[in-house]
Symmetry: C2
Subunit: 389 residues, 2 copies
């Protein structure tokens, strides 16, 4: 052997079967039949019941004479008690499977309820990595946002309502059985959500690329997703019903999801989980607010990788010093936000000193911090939060 030193760390990759493309939503009934399912529950939210997507699923089930239950009472940042409630409904209806139609909140709640259908205790017992022991009922996902990628990931994020932080539940068992990813569903997504979920996907892609758990496979997905979002999001913000833009944003979200599900994430998500659980604010927005300040903090610990992102976006950086290289990436994100009219900060939350303390403490205990290029102190996390106020 000429060299004993391997270039790549050992890495694992898990992905669900998925179908991607406009009109793929029509495949739901085919999978119900393929999996020989007889009594699904459709989990969704009020907004989606109004849009036609959930109704499309009901119609398909009726076409193949499948009786189904509906649970549509899901809120943003789903809470632990909601999960228990859904699991109760699933059990009382004797459902054999779950169809989740919605964004990250719906899909995370559905996955977590799936855990509680077959595993003992409460959902809080499953916080952390690989705690699920019994297989869950089959889950078919139909994502209707271009951000969370819960439909392809091994994650479910549920708010602990007593302690007011988001628990990350991570397990291969949480990978759905099939994800049916139809970009057409984004047509009815309010523009504000199109932007915040796309920025969520961008954060997934950047954080998974920088992650200590990245691999050559996840790297490829991350870089491609970053490029697609930078190219497409400004155009989509101007013309949000253009199906070609929606296709590329949905594709970017899928790629970012396959990446972070396997490479995990970093400090942006650790803090966003903590703030989002405490203040019940939108996850994608929270990620987008924190992104540049975390890059500013992390840069020196992962300069080579951050620079690769800049290069993949077409910037010539090889003759620049580190300060300027960092600035190019941060400025490119600021410029993207400017183009799409995103100017939210943490100011409106009116966070008090003792609240920032609590948030920072939860952030350093979030599983996502484990793959951040450097382990921050609680003080450093507080400083990052304070820079955004």
């Amino acid at each position: 052997m000429s060299k004993d030193k391997s270039m790549y760390k050992i890495s694992k990759f898990v992905a669900p079967e998925f179908i991607f493309g406009v009109d793929s939503i029509e495949y739901v009934k085919r999978y119900i039949k393929n999996f020989s399912l007889t009594s699904p529950i459709v989990i969704t939210d009020h907004g989606l019941l109004k849009a036609s997507w959930a109704k499309n699923i009901f119609k398909q089930l009726e076409e193949i004479n499948i009786e189904y239950c509906i649970f549509d009472n899901i809120t943003e940042n789903p809470k632990d008690y909601e999960v228990e409630e859904i699991a109760k409904v699933i059990r009382s209806c004797n459902c054999d499977s779950i169809i989740a139609v919605g964004g990250g909140s719906v899909i995370d709640a559905a996955k977590a309820a799936g855990i509680m259908c077959t595993n003992p205790g409460t959902i809080r017992d499953y916080e952390g990595i690989d705690k699920i022991t019994h297989p869950m009922p089959p889950i078919i996902c139909v994502p209707t946002t271009c951000g969370s990628s819960a439909d392809v990931s091994q994650f479910a994020i549920i708010t602990n309502s007593d302690e007011r932080y988001k628990m990350a539940i991570v397990s291969k068992s949480l990978t759905p059985d099939i994800s049916i990813i139809d970009p057409k569903t984004l047509i009815t997504l309010p523009e504000e959500l199109l932007i915040s979920t796309s920025l969520d996907a961008l954060t997934h892609a950047i954080e998974s690329y920088i992650s200590l758990g990245s691999s050559p496979i996840t790297d490829m997905f991350s870089l491609k997703a970053i490029k697609l979002i930078f190219e497409t999001l400004p155009k989509a913000a101007k013309d949000p019903k253009n199906i070609n833009y929606l296709e590329d944003l949905m594709l970017a979200s899928l790629m970012a999801g396959l990446s972070f599900s396997n490479a995990s994430l970093g400090m942006v998500h650790a803090i966003a989980h903590s703030i989002g659980g405490y203040k019940d604010i939108r996850h994608g927005t929270c990620n987008a607010i924190l992104l540049e300040s975390v890059i500013d903090f992390n840069y020196l610990y992962a300069a080579y990788r951050y620079d690769k992102i800049s290069e993949s976006l077409g910037y010539e950086i090889k003759d620049l010093n580190e300060v300027d290289r960092k600035k190019i990436l941060i400025d490119s994100i600021k410029e993207l936000k400017r183009k799409i009219g995103f100017n939210i900060t943490l100011k409106d939350l009116d966070l008090k000193e003792e609240e920032i303390d609590i948030i920072a403490k939860h952030a350093v205990n979030d599983p996502c911090i484990l793959t951040n290029p450097v382990m921050p102190t609680i003080e450093e996390v507080k400083e990052i939060i304070e820079r955004n106020i």
Copy 2:
């Protein structure tokens, strides 16, 4: 909606769980435990029994007190009667799972034997797409070549020994449960096989990129695999024990496999299956021989995509006419072959006119022809074969 026309066709993607990296072979015992398996059969070949890889697996099984059977009598281009024989051994030993350690022949035979453990009839009944009705026993794959990617694919290729052609069996059920991909296993691969299996991977990547079944996800894998093989194979041919080159060839093979398993292939494979089944010659070699003449034939039907390959290899082609653009790609493959000393043709097979007839007839019936950019006539296939004699 500003545009009604979607950019992407509906596509499906299936991949097994996989682990990639030097020394990942040591994970076999962990998966035996995770899957609660108690009596695996280890399927391998004589050569691998001599190399230490099969022994490594035996040792791991002994460490966790698992009794196992061994089947090591697999030949290149595995035959239908061999598959039936392995299935008989699996049943008589009451094995609950299969560990396949080897190249494409071993893994294809193991997968096909898996079908026969739980499905009625003979293996010939399962030729074609989606014929398998009963789930197979769990299969753990440890690939030891960098070409077939049978360890991640939905394909098993088995020779019909009466009619002397290769049957393509294609089904999601043929995706292994876990593939453990350790580039270190390539250290013991004879150089000739390192080259022919790498060229097999190159053909997978090119054909899946040109395939009518390609998708944005498979495209990404294909282009990256092509680039890696062009960059690495000449270096590996000179220094075939350099672990870093072996890592990149194994990675390219994995990526090409994930691509073709989902996008399918084209005319090179259709003809190579047909010749390989008739003359029992090495599959990767046969693909490599045919590659340029099929590109020459196909080019005009997929010029845009072939050009994308040339561009991804760094060629400036936008000012060239089609004849010159085609020549650049074909010449780059010829140059790659020259660098690695590959100069085999079909001459040595001494094919007779009536044999070419039979081969061409089987080729136009191979499932891989369905995704070729154009459907060739039998006469056209004969001409392509004759150009390589």
